[in-house]
């Protein structure tokens, strides 16, 4: 078979015998070449058979997929929250290793709970500063530099994981469209 014939027959196969899809020159070749003409006719007939192979649509599939989509979305949200919870634990562990969290006074320091508003906020900031300075001093005195460095690393890793998890969670959160 000549190269031209093979190339044209490949095209006829691709377009299922539709000679309108060929160039003028190719179409003329098909008209004059018995082999290519036979392939064109055969491909048209094959095309008619293949046009019937799709099964009828099943209308129930769409509904079933839709309800599964909702379940999958809920599951994703829960799964996406797991690393957030895990990373909070890691960060908490790092903070504890660094000298402990301020205990019962924590709530009292929050300006939300105070009737004194901004004054209270300023005071609490000062308190926090004192807490951290004392905690840092005590930690440096008690812990070896190696342990301290490890604790800082764990804390940083925790913060990093929180940031990544928060981004992931935002992608599947129901409020992602807002803003």
């Amino acid at each position: 078979m000549a190269t031209t014939c093979e190339a044209i027959q490949e095209l006829l196969t691709e377009h299922l015998g539709e000679t309108e899809r060929l160039s003028d020159e190719e179409r003329r070749h098909v008209e004059l070449c018995p082999q290519c003409c036979e392939v064109a006719a055969g491909e048209s007939a094959l095309g008619l058979i293949f046009a019937r192979v799709l099964p009828p649509a099943d209308p129930t599939v769409e509904g079933r997929v839709r309800s599964a989509m909702k379940t999958a979305r809920r599951r994703r949200r829960v799964l996406a929250l797991l690393p957030v919870a895990a990373s909070l634990l890691v960060a908490l562990l790092g903070a504890v290793m660094l000298g402990g969290l301020p205990g019962g006074s924590l709530l009292a320091l929050l300006p939300v709970w105070s009737s004194q508003g901004w004054v209270s906020l300023a005071a609490s900031m000062a308190d926090w500063n004192a807490v951290f300075t004392t905690a840092a001093g005590a930690t440096t005195a008690l812990l070896s530099p190696g342990v301290l460095a490890a604790a800082i690393l764990v804390s940083l890793a925790g913060i990093g994981v929180i940031a990544i998890a928060a981004r992931r969670w935002r992608q599947v959160s129901p409020w992602r469209d807002i803003g």
Partner: protein
Amino acid sequence: MSFEKASDEQLVRFALDGDEDAFTTLVRRYQRRLTAFLSQLVGDVELARELSQEAFIRAWSALERFDPKYRFSTWLFRIGHNLGIDHLRRRRLKTVALHRTDREGDEVELVVEDTTKDPLGHFENTELAGSLKGAIEELTAEYRELVLLRHFGCLSYQEIAEFKQMPLGTVKNKLFRAHTVLRKALAAFL
């Protein structure tokens, strides 16, 4: 914008923004084609419907991992194809399957006849359906897969090249050869 007229890429973007209607449009667009392709792969149209449903759910669940440099169609068909192959493997392990060897030595699974599950059961001309089924089964595994992707999955040559990670010219040539075999086998109906 009407979802029906939107491109796959646009629909994927809307679906990524949480629009379930956009993804449902993709389901409607590909459901019959994916079912037709899978029904030939597993030899059972009911099972193919279940597998295509599962493929859509997996696609939805993994949509964030979809790489937009590929086409949605090829990605979806790959998910469906993998589900079909996994199913065939499990079935081979569970049951004593009937096999025969085709001309090139590839194993072909013979599916027990059941007209309600027959992928071509909707054909009015049962003789033609039987001959088409036989002709496709006679093809080598590679040609058969290309024919299924092209005529049952209705994928373009470009999409098939992407799906098979094969040069476009090779797809054209192999499909031409596969069609030559099919034309001969179905000569009585052409």
